[in-house]
Protein backbone atom coordinates (compact mmCIF):
# COMPACT_ATOMS: atom_id res chain seq x y z
CA UNK A 1 0.00 0.00 0.00
CA UNK A 2 2.00 2.92 -1.29
CA UNK A 3 0.56 6.25 -2.39
CA UNK A 4 1.21 7.05 -6.01
CA UNK A 5 3.88 9.54 -6.91
CA UNK A 6 1.23 11.87 -8.30
CA UNK A 7 0.29 12.58 -4.69
CA UNK A 8 3.79 13.85 -3.97
CA UNK A 9 3.74 15.93 -7.14
CA UNK A 10 0.35 17.42 -6.34
CA UNK A 11 1.46 18.39 -2.85
CA UNK A 12 4.60 20.11 -4.09
CA UNK A 13 2.68 21.92 -6.82
CA UNK A 14 0.07 23.14 -4.34
CA UNK A 15 2.85 24.37 -2.08
CA UNK A 16 4.16 26.50 -4.92
CA UNK A 17 0.71 27.69 -5.95
CA UNK A 18 -0.07 28.74 -2.40
CA UNK A 19 2.85 31.19 -2.59
CA UNK A 20 1.56 32.78 -5.77
CA UNK A 21 0.16 36.32 -5.57
CA UNK A 22 -3.60 36.69 -5.90
CA UNK A 23 -4.87 36.40 -9.45
CA UNK A 24 -1.71 35.04 -11.04
CA UNK A 25 -1.66 31.70 -12.84
CA UNK A 26 1.21 29.25 -13.24
CA UNK A 27 1.37 26.86 -16.18
CA UNK A 28 1.86 23.11 -16.10
CA UNK A 29 5.05 23.61 -18.06
CA UNK A 30 6.57 25.82 -15.36
CA UNK A 31 5.51 23.46 -12.56
CA UNK A 32 6.97 20.51 -14.43
CA UNK A 33 10.28 22.25 -15.05
CA UNK A 34 10.53 23.42 -11.47
CA UNK A 35 10.19 19.88 -10.15
CA UNK A 36 11.84 17.99 -13.00
CA UNK A 37 8.70 16.05 -13.89
CA UNK A 38 7.12 14.90 -17.17
CA UNK A 39 4.77 17.73 -18.14
CA UNK A 40 2.09 15.59 -19.76
CA UNK A 41 1.73 13.23 -16.85
CA UNK A 42 1.89 15.94 -14.21
CA UNK A 43 -0.99 17.46 -16.11
CA UNK A 44 -3.11 14.48 -15.07
CA UNK A 45 -2.50 15.20 -11.40
CA UNK A 46 -3.39 18.86 -11.86
CA UNK A 47 -6.55 17.89 -13.71
CA UNK A 48 -7.54 15.80 -10.71
CA UNK A 49 -7.05 18.81 -8.46
CA UNK A 50 -9.09 20.91 -10.84
CA UNK A 51 -11.88 18.37 -10.96
CA UNK A 52 -11.96 18.35 -7.15
CA UNK A 53 -12.36 22.10 -7.13
CA UNK A 54 -9.10 22.75 -5.27
CA UNK A 55 -7.54 24.61 -8.12
CA UNK A 56 -8.79 27.04 -10.73
CA UNK A 57 -7.62 27.07 -14.30
CA UNK A 58 -7.56 29.52 -17.21
CA UNK A 59 -6.98 28.66 -20.82
CA UNK A 60 -4.97 30.48 -23.42
CA UNK A 61 -1.52 32.03 -23.20
CA UNK A 62 -0.48 33.08 -19.72
CA UNK A 63 -3.00 30.51 -18.57
CA UNK A 64 -2.37 27.87 -15.94
CA UNK A 65 -3.43 27.10 -12.40
CA UNK A 66 -4.02 28.91 -9.15
CA UNK A 67 -5.60 27.81 -5.89
CA UNK A 68 -9.36 28.02 -5.90
CA UNK A 69 -9.53 28.70 -2.15
CA UNK A 70 -7.35 30.44 0.44
CA UNK A 71 -4.35 28.30 1.39
CA UNK A 72 -5.64 28.09 4.96
CA UNK A 73 -8.71 26.22 3.74
CA UNK A 74 -6.90 23.51 1.76
CA UNK A 75 -5.73 20.50 3.73
CA UNK A 76 -3.35 17.69 2.87
CA UNK A 77 -6.29 15.32 2.89
CA UNK A 78 -8.12 17.39 0.27
CA UNK A 79 -5.18 17.08 -2.09
CA UNK A 80 -4.58 13.40 -1.44
CA UNK A 81 -8.22 12.49 -1.90
CA UNK A 82 -8.38 14.51 -5.09
CA UNK A 83 -5.54 12.49 -6.60
CA UNK A 84 -5.91 9.12 -4.95
CA UNK A 85 -9.68 8.92 -4.64
CA UNK A 86 -11.63 9.19 -1.42
CA UNK A 87 -12.25 5.54 -0.72
CA UNK A 88 -11.08 3.90 2.49
CA UNK A 89 -7.71 2.16 2.54
CA UNK A 90 -9.36 -1.07 3.66
CA UNK A 91 -12.33 -2.69 2.03
CA UNK A 92 -14.25 -5.39 3.86
CA UNK A 93 -15.41 -8.19 1.59
CA UNK A 94 -17.35 -9.70 4.46
CA UNK A 95 -15.73 -13.10 4.07
CA UNK A 96 -17.21 -14.13 7.42
CA UNK A 97 -20.40 -14.61 5.40
CA UNK A 98 -18.83 -17.68 3.77
CA UNK A 99 -18.64 -19.57 7.05
CA UNK A 100 -20.26 -22.94 6.31
CA UNK A 101 -21.45 -23.26 9.91
CA UNK A 102 -23.92 -20.43 9.67
CA UNK A 103 -27.61 -21.26 9.46
CA UNK A 104 -29.22 -20.93 6.05
CA UNK A 105 -30.25 -17.38 5.24
CA UNK A 106 -28.59 -15.89 8.28
CA UNK A 107 -28.19 -12.16 7.91
CA UNK A 108 -25.62 -10.39 10.03
CA UNK A 109 -26.15 -7.07 11.61
CA UNK A 110 -23.40 -4.56 12.08
CA UNK A 111 -19.98 -4.46 10.53
CA UNK A 112 -17.14 -6.89 10.94
CA UNK A 113 -15.03 -6.22 14.04
CA UNK A 114 -11.86 -6.52 11.99
CA UNK A 115 -13.05 -3.94 9.49
CA UNK A 116 -13.95 -1.57 12.31
CA UNK A 117 -10.40 -1.60 13.65
CA UNK A 118 -9.00 -1.03 10.17
CA UNK A 119 -11.39 1.84 9.60
CA UNK A 120 -10.46 3.45 12.91
CA UNK A 121 -6.81 3.34 11.87
CA UNK A 122 -7.76 4.78 8.51
CA UNK A 123 -9.61 7.56 10.29
CA UNK A 124 -6.57 8.34 12.48
CA UNK A 125 -4.53 8.75 9.31
CA UNK A 126 -7.13 11.02 7.76
CA UNK A 127 -7.48 13.09 10.91
CA UNK A 128 -3.80 13.90 10.86
CA UNK A 129 -3.89 14.81 7.18
CA UNK A 130 -6.99 16.91 7.69
CA UNK A 131 -5.25 18.91 10.39
CA UNK A 132 -2.49 20.36 8.21
CA UNK A 133 -3.29 23.13 5.76
CA UNK A 134 -1.31 24.53 2.88
CA UNK A 135 -0.92 27.80 4.79
CA UNK A 136 0.83 25.98 7.64
CA UNK A 137 3.00 24.10 5.20
CA UNK A 138 4.01 27.37 3.59
CA UNK A 139 5.12 28.80 6.94
CA UNK A 140 7.25 25.74 7.68
CA UNK A 141 8.85 25.78 4.25
CA UNK A 142 9.64 29.48 4.45
CA UNK A 143 11.32 29.02 7.81
CA UNK A 144 13.34 26.02 6.67
CA UNK A 145 14.51 26.86 3.18
CA UNK A 146 17.54 29.19 2.92
CA UNK A 147 16.24 32.67 1.97
CA UNK A 148 18.30 32.92 -1.19
CA UNK A 149 16.81 29.73 -2.61
CA UNK A 150 13.32 30.59 -1.44
CA UNK A 151 13.44 34.06 -3.00
CA UNK A 152 15.22 32.85 -6.11
CA UNK A 153 12.57 30.24 -6.68
CA UNK A 154 9.74 32.73 -6.41
CA UNK A 155 11.49 35.16 -8.74
CA UNK A 156 11.77 32.28 -11.20
CA UNK A 157 8.10 31.43 -10.68
CA UNK A 158 6.80 34.99 -10.97
CA UNK A 159 8.80 35.38 -14.15
CA UNK A 160 6.63 32.64 -15.65
CA UNK A 161 3.30 33.36 -13.94
CA UNK A 162 0.64 34.91 -16.10
Amino acid sequence: MILKSQVEWALHCCAILSGLPEGRYLSTKALAELHGLPKEYLSKALQSLSQAGLVHTTLGPSGGYRLAKPAAEVTFLDIIEAVEGNGRTFVCNNIRANNPCRPEGYCEVGSCAIARVMWEADEAWRTKLRSVTLAELGQVLESEIPPQIWNGTFEWVLDRAG
Copy 2:
Protein backbone atom coordinates in the same frame (compact mmCIF):
# COMPACT_ATOMS: atom_id res chain seq x y z
CA MET B 1 -4.00 3.25 -1.96
CA ILE B 2 -5.97 0.18 -0.96
CA LEU B 3 -4.65 -2.70 1.13
CA LYS B 4 -4.65 -5.99 -0.69
CA SER B 5 -7.29 -8.55 0.09
CA GLN B 6 -4.63 -10.89 1.47
CA VAL B 7 -4.48 -8.54 4.48
CA GLU B 8 -8.15 -9.16 5.21
CA TRP B 9 -7.66 -12.89 4.77
CA ALA B 10 -4.64 -12.97 7.05
CA LEU B 11 -6.48 -11.07 9.78
CA HIS B 12 -9.46 -13.42 9.69
CA CYS B 13 -7.21 -16.48 9.69
CA CYS B 14 -5.26 -15.18 12.66
CA ALA B 15 -8.53 -14.53 14.48
CA ILE B 16 -9.44 -18.18 14.04
CA LEU B 17 -5.97 -19.43 14.94
CA SER B 18 -6.00 -17.38 18.14
CA GLY B 19 -9.02 -19.38 19.27
CA LEU B 20 -7.28 -22.69 18.70
CA PRO B 21 -6.26 -24.76 21.79
CA GLU B 22 -2.56 -24.89 22.58
CA GLY B 23 -0.61 -27.26 20.37
CA ARG B 24 -3.26 -27.83 17.71
CA TYR B 25 -2.69 -26.99 14.06
CA LEU B 26 -5.19 -25.94 11.42
CA SER B 27 -4.55 -26.58 7.73
CA THR B 28 -4.71 -24.13 4.86
CA LYS B 29 -7.49 -26.21 3.39
CA ALA B 30 -9.69 -25.79 6.46
CA LEU B 31 -9.00 -22.05 6.65
CA ALA B 32 -9.79 -21.65 2.98
CA GLU B 33 -13.05 -23.58 3.26
CA LEU B 34 -14.10 -21.67 6.35
CA HIS B 35 -13.73 -18.33 4.59
CA GLY B 36 -14.62 -19.37 1.06
CA LEU B 37 -11.21 -18.48 -0.36
CA PRO B 38 -8.92 -20.05 -2.97
CA LYS B 39 -6.70 -22.42 -1.01
CA GLU B 40 -3.57 -22.00 -3.12
CA TYR B 41 -3.58 -18.25 -2.99
CA LEU B 42 -4.50 -18.05 0.67
CA SER B 43 -1.44 -20.22 1.18
CA LYS B 44 0.71 -17.29 0.02
CA ALA B 45 -0.66 -15.06 2.73
CA LEU B 46 -0.05 -17.69 5.38
CA GLN B 47 3.46 -18.19 4.09
CA SER B 48 4.05 -14.49 4.60
CA LEU B 49 2.87 -14.80 8.19
CA SER B 50 5.14 -17.79 8.66
CA GLN B 51 8.12 -15.94 7.21
CA ALA B 52 7.46 -13.07 9.61
CA GLY B 53 7.50 -15.49 12.54
CA LEU B 54 3.91 -14.80 13.56
CA VAL B 55 2.78 -18.31 12.86
CA HIS B 56 4.30 -21.74 13.28
CA THR B 57 3.84 -24.54 10.84
CA THR B 58 4.13 -28.31 10.83
CA LEU B 59 4.35 -30.55 7.81
CA GLY B 60 2.71 -33.87 7.15
CA PRO B 61 -0.82 -35.03 7.82
CA SER B 62 -2.64 -33.16 10.55
CA GLY B 63 -0.15 -30.40 9.86
CA GLY B 64 -1.03 -26.76 9.40
CA TYR B 65 -0.64 -23.49 11.23
CA ARG B 66 -0.86 -22.20 14.74
CA LEU B 67 0.14 -18.89 16.30
CA ALA B 68 3.81 -18.70 17.19
CA LYS B 69 3.18 -16.31 20.09
CA PRO B 70 0.39 -15.70 22.60
CA ALA B 71 -2.54 -13.85 21.01
CA ALA B 72 -1.95 -10.93 23.37
CA GLU B 73 1.45 -10.34 21.77
CA VAL B 74 0.32 -10.23 18.15
CA THR B 75 -0.96 -6.88 16.91
CA PHE B 76 -2.87 -5.89 13.78
CA LEU B 77 0.22 -4.06 12.61
CA ASP B 78 2.33 -7.22 12.86
CA ILE B 79 -0.05 -9.05 10.56
CA ILE B 80 -0.44 -6.21 8.10
CA GLU B 81 3.29 -5.64 7.83
CA ALA B 82 3.89 -9.34 7.34
CA VAL B 83 1.59 -9.41 4.33
CA GLU B 84 1.92 -5.93 2.93
CA GLY B 85 5.56 -5.22 3.70
CA ASN B 86 6.81 -2.82 6.32
CA GLY B 87 7.61 0.16 4.14
CA ARG B 88 5.98 3.53 4.68
CA THR B 89 2.85 4.39 2.75
CA PHE B 90 4.52 7.50 1.36
CA VAL B 91 7.89 7.59 -0.33
CA CYS B 92 9.65 10.91 -0.82
CA ASN B 93 11.48 11.14 -4.12
CA ASN B 94 12.97 14.45 -3.08
CA ILE B 95 11.77 16.25 -6.16
CA ARG B 96 12.66 19.56 -4.55
CA ALA B 97 16.22 18.63 -5.57
CA ASN B 98 15.27 19.28 -9.19
CA ASN B 99 14.63 22.96 -8.58
CA PRO B 100 16.64 24.77 -11.27
CA CYS B 101 17.14 27.78 -8.98
CA ARG B 102 19.36 25.94 -6.54
CA PRO B 103 23.07 26.63 -6.59
CA GLU B 104 25.26 24.00 -8.21
CA GLY B 105 26.10 21.15 -5.86
CA TYR B 106 23.76 22.33 -3.14
CA CYS B 107 23.12 19.57 -0.64
CA GLU B 108 20.05 19.79 1.53
CA VAL B 109 19.97 18.81 5.13
CA GLY B 110 16.95 17.29 6.76
CA SER B 111 13.89 15.79 5.22
CA CYS B 112 11.26 17.45 3.10
CA ALA B 113 8.53 19.16 5.15
CA ILE B 114 5.86 17.56 3.01
CA ALA B 115 7.26 14.09 3.60
CA ARG B 116 7.38 14.73 7.33
CA VAL B 117 3.64 15.44 7.47
CA MET B 118 2.92 12.34 5.42
CA TRP B 119 5.09 10.24 7.69
CA GLU B 120 3.39 11.58 10.81
CA ALA B 121 0.04 10.57 9.36
CA ASP B 122 1.47 7.16 8.52
CA GLU B 123 2.69 6.86 12.09
CA ALA B 124 -0.77 7.73 13.45
CA TRP B 125 -2.18 4.89 11.36
CA ARG B 126 0.47 2.48 12.60
CA THR B 127 0.00 3.53 16.22
CA LYS B 128 -3.67 2.63 16.09
CA LEU B 129 -2.93 -0.72 14.47
CA ARG B 130 -0.18 -1.44 16.97
CA SER B 131 -2.60 -0.87 19.84
CA VAL B 132 -4.98 -3.70 19.01
CA THR B 133 -3.97 -7.30 19.69
CA LEU B 134 -5.47 -10.56 18.54
CA ALA B 135 -6.51 -11.29 22.13
CA GLU B 136 -8.61 -8.12 22.21
CA LEU B 137 -10.10 -8.91 18.84
CA GLY B 138 -11.04 -12.37 20.10
CA GLN B 139 -12.91 -10.88 23.05
CA VAL B 140 -14.87 -8.52 20.83
CA LEU B 141 -15.75 -11.26 18.38
CA GLU B 142 -16.90 -13.61 21.12
CA SER B 143 -19.14 -10.93 22.59
CA GLU B 144 -20.64 -10.02 19.22
CA ILE B 145 -21.17 -13.30 17.43
CA PRO B 146 -24.27 -15.30 18.42
CA PRO B 147 -23.14 -18.17 20.67
CA GLN B 148 -24.56 -20.89 18.45
CA ILE B 149 -22.56 -19.73 15.46
CA TRP B 150 -19.43 -19.09 17.51
CA ASN B 151 -19.55 -22.55 19.10
CA GLY B 152 -20.58 -24.25 15.90
CA THR B 153 -17.64 -22.71 14.09
CA PHE B 154 -15.16 -23.89 16.68
CA GLU B 155 -16.62 -27.37 16.68
CA TRP B 156 -16.15 -27.36 12.93
CA VAL B 157 -12.59 -26.09 13.33
CA LEU B 158 -11.58 -28.52 16.07
CA ASP B 159 -12.96 -31.32 13.97
CA ARG B 160 -10.31 -30.47 11.39
CA ALA B 161 -7.45 -29.37 13.65
CA GLY B 162 -4.57 -31.78 14.00
